[in-house]
Amino acid sequence: MSLINQFRPYPLFILVLAIVLSMPVVVVLAHVFVPSGDIWQHLSSTVLPDYIRNSLLLMLGVAIGTLLIGVTTAWLTTMCQFPGRSVFEWALLLPMAMPAYIIAYTYTGMLDISGPVQMALRDWFGWQYGDYWFPQIRSLNGAVVMLTLVLYPYVYLLSRAAFLSQSICVLDVSRTLGNGPWKTFWRVALPLARPAIIAGLSLALMETLADYGTVQFFGVSTFTTGIFRTWFGMGSAAAAAQLAAGLMVFVFALIILERYSRRKARYHHTSRRHQDLRRFQLTGGRAALAFLFCLVILSLGFLLPALQLLSWTVHVADTVIDAQFLRLLMNSLSLAAFAAVLALILAIVMAYAQRLYPGKLVSGAVRVAGMGYAVPGAVIAVGVMIPFAWFDNTVDDLARSHFDYSTGLLLSGTLVAVTFAYLTRFLAVSLQTVDSGLTRITHSMDEAGRSFGFRPLQILRQIHIPMLSASLMTALLLVFVDVLKELPATLILRPFNFNTLAVKAYELASDERLAEAAPAALAIVIAGIIPVILLSKTITRSRKLKLAIDEN
């Protein structure tokens, strides 16, 4: 498509939107050009190699973990029949409601040297410390496990949606060709689902890179912990920004990986005949194995930590839960809902620009707008603070000089700033989901619509929205849950007297009052469960809906 096309109002609007949304990241990265003295030299000769090594190992570990767990469980619950399948189908998403820093605190409380598990071991066997081996929870490996347990649902979710939407014909053909379940999985289903799996993986890995709470608590030095040390401890914003730029290199690598995996082929399903899946019936040992595998994952990622939180909550409930607590809950929920809707609208607008005006400019703009996902929330927050304060102060200066009146701060310290930070940080989530849903709608369907004389908006309403509904719902709920868990940006940008559950949980946990932090943490988890269950239902239902549409 010609370059002229890129300068039509719609793509131009996207460009402006992308510039605005990427502003926080750009503002931070702009510090790269500020000289940072000898700090950089100091870093590279002391701690930088550790940052790089640990960040890479963390990503590698989480990638392997989330792929193994996410894809396996997705395949089992979609394609195989075994006892408990219909429960696991939605329950396996539950760990998503668990913020990484909370699961880390919880497991530390249980498994640490002074926790109940090791204490019981010492009591039973009369051991002393050092008499026995026990895995060190606060370590790089521990961080990999914690992050894997709460991030595998991204891979699970997207690969399950992909498996579900695969035309049954393709799988049937595979079976008629004499392929068993294993071969069908490896040779047909997995390659077809690859774009979705990689999309899920890159979400999980970006979350890993942005994680601060877990690695900080476990004492693992990564880029994120390094950014904070350098920025605040050494007082060098420039060197911190240079570290953040280093982090962004990893992010770009991930984005390129994701695009590359998709570029090779456009997977469109040619058949419009969908039937209910005929699942592979598992029996005996295999059924038991599938059941056990899903149960272990669910227990580790959700049941155990939730029970621990519950038991702490019971201990302290009467002192912590009051009318104020209810307000925290309302604040958290309404903020998350608002941000999720806004992110969805922006994602739709951007994903369509990319489809209607394919070209470097638009796709570049969309990519740039999603950059914030892998940047730690606190870095984003500072990136939001600087331009907002600049805007406020400029307006104020103008007003003072022209009207002799001070407007004060209009945007800084308001929920506008908080919401903007959420959009910068989480737009990638809704964008990825909407986009990967959109690639499943063939271009020939658009052409068919156009031959009926549909205008673009009509194509959207009549063809795309019904077919996309699952992806849209997924995008909405993912952002909702993410915002509910978000901490650093909320903490630093919020207005006076405004608290959320995450802020409350963090404050108490950071003061090492794990038990008192439990009610707020548990409330985040519970509030997150409902959308997560909805999420699972939508995906299943959308398939049925699609069947109905296909039949008409």
């Binding site: 640490d112 401890g233 603070m385 919020r494 404050e507």
Partner: protein, 346 residues
């Protein structure tokens, strides 16, 4: 272009009308003071509520990480709504002064109540509570006679027996800064290397975690702030209480400069719009009731010598505190962090 100009002026005009309309009423009715606090909500709100009850002045609160609050103040500039910055260490108060965010305050009450070493000579900031960071030991494995100074913790007999948290933590940064002041940078770096060599495990978790690890047998010596131990002794959790009972407090360096302490404190923001209320609040935080509250609720030492420490803190006795100028902690913070990087203190 002209259209944009007209639009901007109309919009500005409307905003001005709206804002002035609102604030005229508001200013007369509500007396308030706005607080940016690095002290977490549950460790300040009860006092603020009491202040409001006593004076009728409403306190608006944002809590957060001290560094990020500083960043926010810097960006907001003269339009900041904040009147007071409250931090849990002297280093950040010093930094706020350095970047010209706070103003000197004249208050006879504060000058008279707070000892000179715990406030800025010109009134840029005031300490409100003391946080001592002594050596703690496991009572049945360490004879306190073996202990003497921070410096002596590098002796080979402590090999594989010491637990300290990460160097990312500001209390460690302040402690090392105080040692740079006392012993110089080269000697302190040697010391840090020796200390790291004696670590029982790589630094992880917070101060309470170090104490718990010692009680469970992973190490014998801990450097931690006393109020964490106090919090464990008064915990609802029997296991925590039991762990804390095993730990003794040793005041190091009593023959020379004294134990390292830090202050939590407050400063009035340069562009404070409620300056008088801000001073009233800081005065309230230095009153008898507030000072006792710090000691009883959070196990911190009152900044005033004339306030009783309470039973909990009394058990560890009196101590000589390092009289070092608190501003130095902020001044040497970056040097301390680099030094710990070089020493391999994670």
């Amino acid at each position: 272009m002209r259209k944009a100009g007209i639009f901007l002026s109309v919009w500005l005009g409307l905003t001005v009308l709206l804002v002035s309309g609102c604030s005229d009423d508001a200013q007369q009715e509500i007396q308030e003071v706005n607080l940016y606090s690095a002290r977490i909500e549950s460790l300040i709100k009860p006092l603020l509520d009491e202040f409001t009850e006593e004076t009728g002045i409403k306190v608006n609160l944002v809590t957060g990480n001290a560094d990020e609050l500083l960043q926010r103040l810097q960006n907001e500039g003269r339009n900041t709504p904040a009147d007071i910055l409250l931090t849990t260490d002297a280093g950040r108060l010093h930094r706020a002064m350095e970047v010209d965010l706070v103003q000197p305050v004249q208050s006879d009450i504060l000058m008279q109540r707070i000892p000179a070493s715990y406030r800025h000579p010109d009134g840029y900031w005031f300490g409100l509570s003391l946080r001592a960071r002594p050596i703690m030991y496991v009572k049945d494995r360490v004879d306190p006679a073996e202990l003497s100074t921070y410096e002596a913790l590098v002796e080979p007999r402590w090999n594989n027996r010491i637990c300290v948290r990460s160097s990312s933590n500001v209390y460690n940064q302040s402690m090392v800064a105080s040692m740079i002041v006392a012993n110089g940078e080269a000697a302190t770096e040697e010391w840090a290397k020796g200390l790291v060599a004696n670590f029982a495990r790589s630094p992880q978790g917070g101060d309470r975690d170090q104490i718990s690890a010692a009680a469970a047998g992973q190490c014998d010596i801990v450097i931690a702030n006393t109020y964490y131990l106090a919090g464990m002794l008064t915990s609802n959790d029997a296991n925590e209480r039991e762990a804390a009972e095993k730990i003794g407090v040793f005041w190091p360096n009593q023959a020379d400069r004294g134990v390292h302490i830090n202050v939590s404190g407050a400063a009035v923001i340069k562009d404070a719009k409620n300056q008088q209320n801000a001073i009233k609040l800081i005065e309230f935080l230095s009153s008898d009731t507030s000072q006792k509250w710090y000691a009883e609720t959070n196990g911190e030492y009152p900044v005033r010598a004339d306030i009783e420490k309470g039973e909990l803190l009394e058990q560890w006795g009196d101590f000589l505190a390092d009289p070092l100028d608190m501003d130095k902690l902020g001044e040497f913070n970056a040097d301390a962090l680099r030094l710990m990087d070089r020493a391999g203190w994670q």
